[in-house]
């Protein structure tokens, strides 16, 4: 059984979980608890796929867009389980899994070449492991905050709004330190070791800084200015869009040292 098979099986289980969640939205709330089973199963198989990819390729499973997106999808599911320790009746599950399914679909599309390539000299470093994984983990939590933000903006009641607001904050509180450490700081250390300069204002670096500013804005307006609520949710949404641009947009639309397309 190859890595691709495990990936596909994981994808199928995520779709099954999505189906369960869909049912739960139409008057059968208990199905959202059931959805956790195929979701967990998918996560396990996805983990196997990532491990296999690492073993077969001989390097970390995030050296091109296919691998990174696979890892990001995995991280979003993992983040969901971190958040879902209590049985909750929010719609976070269904919409987060929808996002995971979309991510997996793009990952498995022909847009993402899947060939295993040996590492170019610039990527031959243990910083590859630290920098990319911690950054993507942080972004997975930003994804949770994104969904929580959208759910806030479309919530039917004040009570639900409060729940989504708290969820969003919790997600950013976890994601922000991870993103700062992994994306900016580890990135700077690695750049210094590889290229001799910790910051060269290249598009990917700049956009990760822009993302950082947006989430810093989120924290400041919430904690100190009492903007919690609608504005907060919008900033969380904008932040994730910026993170997505940093991840995707820069690779395909802008050029620089960092374009590992």
């Amino acid at each position: 059984m190859s890595e691709a098979v495990f990936f596909t099986l994981a994808f199928a289980l995520y779709i099954a979980a999505g189906a369960f969640f869909l049912v739960s939205l139409f008057g059968r709330p208990k199905w959202s608890d059931l959805a956790a089973w195929p979701l967990a199963g998918g996560l396990i198989l996805h983990t196997v796929a990532l491990v296999m990819r690492t073993v077969v390729s001989g390097h970390a499973p995030f050296t091109n867009m296919y691998e990174s997106m696979s890892f990001l999808s995995w991280a979003v599911v993992a983040a969901y389980f971190v958040f879902n320790r209590k049985k909750s009746r929010t719609r976070l599950g269904p919409f987060l899994v929808l996002m995971v399914i979309l991510l997996m679909a793009v990952t498995s599309s022909p847009l993402m070449p899947k060939t295993i390539e040996p590492l170019v000299p610039a990527l031959q470093s243990y910083w590859l492991w630290l920098h990319v994984s911690v950054t993507l983990l942080g972004e997975a939590f930003f994804a949770v905050a994104f969904i929580a933000g959208l759910l806030y903006l479309t919530a039917p009641s004040d009570e639900k709004r409060k729940e989504y607001d708290a969820l969003g904050y919790k997600a950013v509180a976890i994601g922000f330190p991870l993103f700062t450490l992994g994306g900016l700081i580890f990135g700077m250390i690695w750049a210094y070791k590889a290229w001799g300069t910790y910051w060269s204002w290249d598009p990917k670096e700049v956009w990760s800084l822009v993302t950082w500013f947006v989430y810093a804005l989120y924290l400041h307006t919430r904690i100190v200015m009492g903007w919690s609520g609608k504005r907060s949710a919008m900033v969380a949404v904008i932040g994730f869009l910026s993170a997505l641009f940093t991840f995707f947009g820069v690779n395909y639309l802008l050029r620089g040292l960092h374009s590992y397309v």
Partner: protein, 464 residues
């Protein structure tokens, strides 16, 4: 402070300014990625045109060094300093000073609440509560009066200063950036094996002893390895192998494997001279481009390579050019002399040994059945001498950057994971014992505060 100063200070210390600056910095930085930087952009037609003029006036071609971006960063620094300075002293006093008094009723509004009754007298109960709180890591303050005993316990107070540490870290990073901007220097050394480069200002020189390129089975580059020796005062001061991601450090200078190239000018080319007939002659002479080698031979006295291109193509202006640096179509313009007479003069192609081209571009065509007595000149497929590009950098700003980053990480850790908790116990003597009302507050979440309170109450009870 005088009024205008006070207004300025208030403005600088305001959060509204911080919010505005974060937005402006984010937008400004983003704009810089969309406009081509460095002035070589396609978007800037040289010369006139109102948009390119505006773009240049706004310094959109070098946003990150532009006046307005620097001004934003400067204002951001002032804002951070002012915000911290105006809030820190009071925060310090509030956190570490004696806490204010409270009454039992106020505990109703706490994030976590609890209560219990004990059979001991108020004084004894208070001592027991204090002990429990201390055992849980709280710093305890006590107030006794007619209404009873009130205890305030505080722990993880340092967490409140996480944000201040983050801000300090950011300022240190900005300082580091300024120091880098002013004081960093770099040099690119293109060295061939055995080559050496000196740094007069630093007093040492760098010599490349060996340069290797390793390849993957498919042909892609796997690694570049440069073995360097640093010489100072005539002696070897340091040596090491430099690869990408593995620089060599000497006296504050870092040496990086930056790139590599082919040095055709230093590459000896193999020129084969062959003559058949009665007196066969075969000899290969190694000649560097642009040089002449005396053969020491009576038959053909010297070989000169007038010109060499690794990837021959005749350009639009009918001049010989090289399409690339790779030896895809290596060609040499060779002159062979016998004494003073030139017996051969023309282009010879490594990939097409039988083809010869005259200097003016008139071809002689393939001479497959050449006269065995005539001279054949063949260029051997050349392998370039490679040079390694080592980038040497010295950046006095980096210690500040790493220190700043450390503060930021520690600060974030404190702010998000070292959450302060405050527990308040109001004890009132009642017939038969003491009633204790408890409340817990702090930036720690309601869940963990509840758990903490439950544990405390449990311990007080079990001490009964």
């Amino acid at each position: 402070m005088r009024r205008p100063m006070k207004t300025v200070w208030k403005f600088l210390a305001s959060l509204k300014l911080a919010v505005a600056l974060l937005i402006l910095l984010a937008v400004g930085a983003a704009v810089g990625t969309l406009a081509p930087q460095g002035g070589r952009g396609v978007g800037y037609p040289s010369g006139r045109g109102s948009s390119s003029g505006i773009a240049r006036a706004l310094q959109l071609d070098h946003v990150y060094g532009s006046i307005w971006f620097m001004a934003l960063l400067g204002l951001f620094s002032l804002n951070t300093i002012a915000c911290t300075a105006s809030r820190l002293p009071a925060k310090f006093r509030r956190t570490f000073g004696v806490p204010g008094d409270f009454d039992a009723a106020s505990l109703q509004g706490a994030k976590a609440r609890g209560s219990l009754g004990v059979s001991r007298a108020a004084d004894e109960a208070a001592a027991a509560c204090e002990a429990v709180l201390r055992g849980r890591g709280f710093r305890v303050f006590r107030k006794d009066d007619g209404a009873g005993v009130r205890l305030t316990g505080r722990k993880r107070r340092l967490g409140l200063f996480g944000s201040d540490l983050v801000h300090a870290g950011l300022l240190v990073v900005i300082v580091g950036g300024v120091v880098s901007g002013l004081g960093s220097r770099s040099w690119r050394l293109a060295l061939i094996e055995g080559g050496r480069s000196s740094f007069a200002s630093a007093g040492f020189s760098v010599r490349l002893d060996k340069f290797d390129t390793e390849y993957y089975p498919g042909g892609r580059v796997k690694d570049w390895k440069s073995r360097l020796t640093v010489m100072e005062n005539g002696r070897t001061a340091a040596e090491g192998t430099v690869e990408v991601n593995r620089p060599l450090r000497y006296k504050g200078y870092d040496m990086y494997q930056s790139a590599y190239g082919k040095d055709w000018a230093a590459t000896p080319l193999g020129i084969e001279l062959r003559k058949g007939g009665a007196k066969p002659y075969a000899r290969t002479v190694m000649v560097k481009p642009g040089t002449r080698v005396e053969t020491g031979d009576a038959e053909f006295t010297s070989v000169t390579v007038r010109n060499f291109v690794p990837d021959f193509v005749v350009g639009d202006n009918r001049h010989v050019e090289s399409r690339s640096d790779e030896p895809n179509n290596a060609a040499a313009f060779v002159e062979v002399r016998k004494g003073e007479a030139i017996v051969f003069s023309g282009w010879t192609f490594a990939n097409y040994p039988g083809f010869r081209m005259k200097p003016q571009g008139k071809t002689e065509g393939k001479s497959a059945d050449e006269d065995k007595d005539s001279l054949t000149v063949v260029l051997r497929k050349p392998a370039a001498v490679e040079y390694s590009v080592i980038e040497v950098r010295r950046d006095p700003g980096t210690p500040f950057i790493w220190a700043g980053c450390l503060f930021v990480v520690l600060g974030l850790g404190l702010a998000f994971y070292w959450r302060p908790a405050e527990v308040r116990l109001a004890l009132k003597g009642v017939p038969g014992g003491t009633e204790i009302a408890a409340g817990a507050n702090g930036s720690a979440g309601a869940e963990s505060l509840n758990k903490e309170l439950e544990t405390i109450i449990g311990k007080i009870r079990s001490g009964e």
